[in-house]
């Protein structure tokens, strides 16, 4: 177990430090660390504490959330194509967040924004699970996902197009592709409570998901309450995806790629895949966020562009494999 988790944890730590040291302002590494940990109110301290630290923390947190949610959904549906971005959960969360902002609800009280995104994500998960059924056949799952993604995306665009604010329409790209640029500690505090709650709910699913690999009947015979498992999965996924999307937009493919890459390393055992996938997701999003700052730093490249460039070919590969198995 530690053979997989320890290297992953080291990788996350290294990428986290790199994320703190990379940015448009060229600061010497030692000055940066002094600015981060030492007192003082100078510009370096401000850059480190108010710009780079929240960015790195959010990348690690949201990446872990997406990896964890992907692994849990794939375990429950026993389908490697289940992923919060692909099946429309992230898109529904973005719709919730956009509606909260456009109606002014997000200004009404602090947690309104993540709560609205959580409600959107909850709607997305419920719809997918209702449409795909408990066994989650690959074709139905993907069709349901496409429909929900398209509907959530269209409603998001409609809400932004109807806004009287001249900047709102430009934000469609942010909500579809995600970005961590210029986020602050405020965003971290908004997302943190729901993320922690979601992690807690999802982390407890390991034993149930292990049993489920033997089939539903066997799992029930082993004393697994499938209705409860399903409820925890829905709530946990909605919490982590909703909170992450509310502050960083819909970031796709992390929950698809990471569990797929790590599954062979943990002997395809869901309970071991959950923590590994969380660490892997954090590493992937930290790396993607480093890449958007190193490639075309002045263009504000969106995170989802990079994760999709990595994820979409893998997605095609998985579909190809699924087709062969079905044939």
């Amino acid at each position: 177990m530690t053979r997989v988790l320890a290297p992953l944890a080291l990788l996350v730590a290294a990428l986290f430090v790199a994320s703190l040291l990379v940015g448009p302002a060229s600061l010497a590494p030692l000055d940066s660390l002094a600015g981060l940990f030492g007192g003082g109110e100078g510009p370096v301290a401000m850059v480190m504490r108010e710009i780079r630290l929240p960015r790195a923390l959010l990348a690690a947190m949201i990446g872990a959330s997406l990896g964890l949610a992907g692994a849990a959904m794939q375990g429950y549906l026993r389908n490697p194509l289940a992923e919060p971005g692909l099946i429309g959960v992230s898109g529904s969360a973005a719709l919730g967040a956009v509606l909260a902002i456009q109606t002014g609800l997000s200004a009404a009280f602090a947690l309104a924004l993540p709560l609205a995104a959580l409600a959107g994500a909850l709607g997305g998960v419920l719809l997918v699970l209702a449409l795909a059924g408990p066994r989650g056949g690959a074709l139905v799952l993907i069709l349901a996902g496409i429909a929900i993604s398209a509907m959530a995306g269209a409603l998001t665009q409609l809400a932004l197009n109807l806004s009287q604010n001249p900047f709102a329409v430009n934000e469609i790209v942010f909500w579809m592709m995600g970005s961590l640029a210029d986020r602050s500690m405020t965003h971290l505090w908004l997302a943190l409570p729901f993320t922690l709650l979601g992690w807690l709910l999802l982390a407890g699913l390991g034993r149930g998901l292990d049993a489920l690999t033997l089939g539903e009947d066997a799992a029930q015979a082993m004393g697994i309450d499938l209705a409860r498992l399903r409820l925890l999965l829905i709530l946990g996924t909605a919490c982590v995806v909703g909170a992450g999307t509310a502050v960083a937009g819909a970031i796709g493919f992390v929950g698809l790629v990471v569990p797929h890459l790590l599954r062979p390393l943990v002997g395809a055992q869901p309970s071991r895949l959950l923590p590994a996938s969380a660490l892997g997701g954090a590493a992937m999003l930290l790396a993607a966020d480093l890449a958007v700052r190193l490639i075309l730093p002045e263009r504000d490249l969106k995170l989802g562009v990079l994760t999709a460039l990595v994820g979409a070919p893998l997605f095609l590969h998985l579909i190809y494999k699924t087709r062969r198995e079905m044939a």
Partner: protein, 283 residues
């Protein structure tokens, strides 16, 4: 120069010209029905046209957030820039901006209408040329010349000669303007040094928040949020921007006086000059 004096000068600009020209305007070959398709040509035309000569303007011209002449535009018909409605008005002349929808401009030309395009103003010294061109198009050369003379004189009075405090323009989505833009020129005329120009920004570009923090400007001048929230504008309330403003004088860009190259930019210059004096008093 005091703001009240600028306002009275502008009032003289707006109304004095009309009085001086009364009876002589409206030469025989001037277009009698002019339609404008761009906020800035709207305002140039409103400044110079005879009553009745300007047949329609854009809806933005009547919006007090974006237009310095919203009151004036309130009495004029509007079009939404669609070729069909413009053609049905049968104008003798259409004035448009260089960035007006290409398809619309080409369509109007195919339909045989005369369309004159105006490039955006990037420098205060472009404003007399724009006034002169609009004056010539409308057959109001004398009125345009009077306005140019007044503008040049007022600008000379307002313009600060010594470079003063360092300022940063910071708009929605983290954009800023350097000296090669009208906003940058307004700052320079008011006696600020623009940090964007120190960093090599020419016209408009995205200024990373980190670089803004490191530049530590004496004053941050942000845009004024539009109604209906947006996350593009939320960056102007980022803790870093708030920290840069804390305990200091802060400025706001009043879009209507900043976006178009008309004599109304003098209001922006005098507002910024006032801000500069406040910053200098606090230093």
């Amino acid at each position: 120069m005091r703001l009240s004096r600028v306002i009275s000068l502008l009032a003289a600009l707006l109304f004095g010209g009309a009085v001086a020209q009364a009876g002589t305007g409206w030469p025989g070959d001037a277009p009698r029905k002019v339609v404008s398709l761009n906020l800035c040509t709207d305002q140039l035309a409103m400044l110079l046209a005879e009553p009745g000569q300007l047949a329609a303007v854009t809806p933005l011209a009547a919006n007090p957030r974006s237009s310095a002449m919203a009151d004036h535009a309130a009495d004029l018909p509007v079009t939404h820039g669609r070729a069909e409605e413009v053609y049905l008005l049968a104008p003798d002349l259409v004035v448009a901006g260089q960035f007006t929808d290409r398809a619309t401009v080409d369509m109007l030309r195919r339909l045989g209408l005369r369309v004159e395009e105006f490039a955006p103003v990037y420098d205060l010294s472009d404003i007399p040329a724009r006034l002169a061109r609009m004056g010539a198009l409308l057959g109001q050369e004398a009125r345009a010349q009077a306005m140019i003379d007044a503008f040049t004189a007022d600008l000379a009075t307002l313009r600060a000669d010594t470079p003063g405090p360092r300022a940063a323009l910071y708009y929605a989505n983290g954009y800023t303007s350097g000296d090669a833009s009208l906003a940058g020129q307004i700052l320079v005329a008011a006696g600020f040094r623009n940090i964007a120009s120190e960093m090599g920004y020419g016209a408009i570009g995205a200024l990373p928040l980190e670089l803004l923090a490191m530049a530590a400007p004496d004053v941050v001048i942000t845009g004024r949020p539009y109604p209906g929230a947006s996350r593009s504008e939320a960056v102007m309330d980022h803790p870093v921007v708030s920290a840069l403003k804390r305990g200091r004088v802060a400025g706001t860009v009043t879009d209507r006086d900043w976006v178009c190259g008309t004599p109304h930019v003098l209001r922006a210059v005098s507002e910024m000059a006032r801000l500069r004096r406040k910053v200098e008093a606090g230093q």
